[in-house]
Amino acid sequence: MAPGERGPSQGQTAQLVSLGTMLFACVAVGLAGGYFADRWLGTGPWLLLIGLGFGIVAAAVNFYRTIKTLNEQDRDDR
């Protein structure tokens, strides 16, 4: 890191660390929701697949939002 530069603050670090597990947790929740909805309604693999898709999209949206907020905070600080 260059001398004039600042690293992320502690709060930002916490958010950055949370990104990794958040990706996994979103996909897992979507998948589990689809699986149990399938078991409940008996509709083949379809709800499972839809749930998986939603989970992946939710993970991506979360990731994007967190990075966006952190970038904005960075720009405000500068």
Binding site: G11, T21, M22, F24, A25, C26, V29, G55, V61
Partner: protein
Amino acid sequence: MIADLAARVTWTGGAIVAAMTVGAGWLYGSAAAAGVGGGGAIALLNFRWLARDVSRATALIAGGGSGVGRIGRIGLRQLVTFGALGLLIAQGWAHPVGVRVALVPTGSQNFMEMVLDQFVKELDETIGHEGRGYLPLIATLGLFILTSNLMGLIPGLVAPTANLNTTAACALIVFITYHVIGVRKQGFIAYMKHFAGPVPTVLKPLMFVIEIISHCARPLSLSLRLFGNMMAGHILLAIFFFMMGFDGMLGWALSGSLGGIVVGAPAAAIMVVFVVGFLLPLKILVAFIQTFIFCKLAMLYIAAAVEEAEHH
């Protein structure tokens, strides 16, 4: 046979607890007597529960069953006992009565005020001025988790946070609390509306589902992160000592053969130095960092639930 032993221990333990209660009451007054009596009763009940499960498990195994479920319950019992112990320790060094609060702070009170000041600073920074109202929740969670994490460093104690049940309980408390706070701040309908977010009307139902999924993922990721980090430390140490052959090297060195002295002793020494000099400091660091991350994320979630009221 176990039942006989358990009954004898219970009677003896009851007598000892009664004697200690009387002694504490005589020396320190009725409050101390109540504390000692209550603690002794809890310990005895725990012991009774444990003994019952052990005797049933042994009966099952003797009868040809597997008894795995019973042993799992014994593990749970142990977890609850150590969790309660963690709470007690946290109270001992953090509770106003335990610290003996005075106007002129001394010793541990100084330390506690420093710690709580840090919590207040973080809350002000994250939530804003009204964030101080959530200090009891966040500080209690933080101190409990920190004590539990550090308990894992003491041989013989079990870190309650190295079990998914404890971390899931903490994460669910955070989850329910921030939703309740959000609903109370802005009403149920407005809070639900916010889930749809600032997107075109066509995308709103889609966004709603995605938001629900990501909100449900929050307690999962909170609990998994804490549990995973704590468990990883234990597994790392276990692998180091049992799978990389520390005991074998030590045994080889102690056997007195030439190879043991030349190879085994230095290897065992290097392992001990590595564990004490690197792994244990790493575990302490992880214990603090994970506590901080848990608290900070809980604050951020509460902040998100509170802030939304001001924007709309």
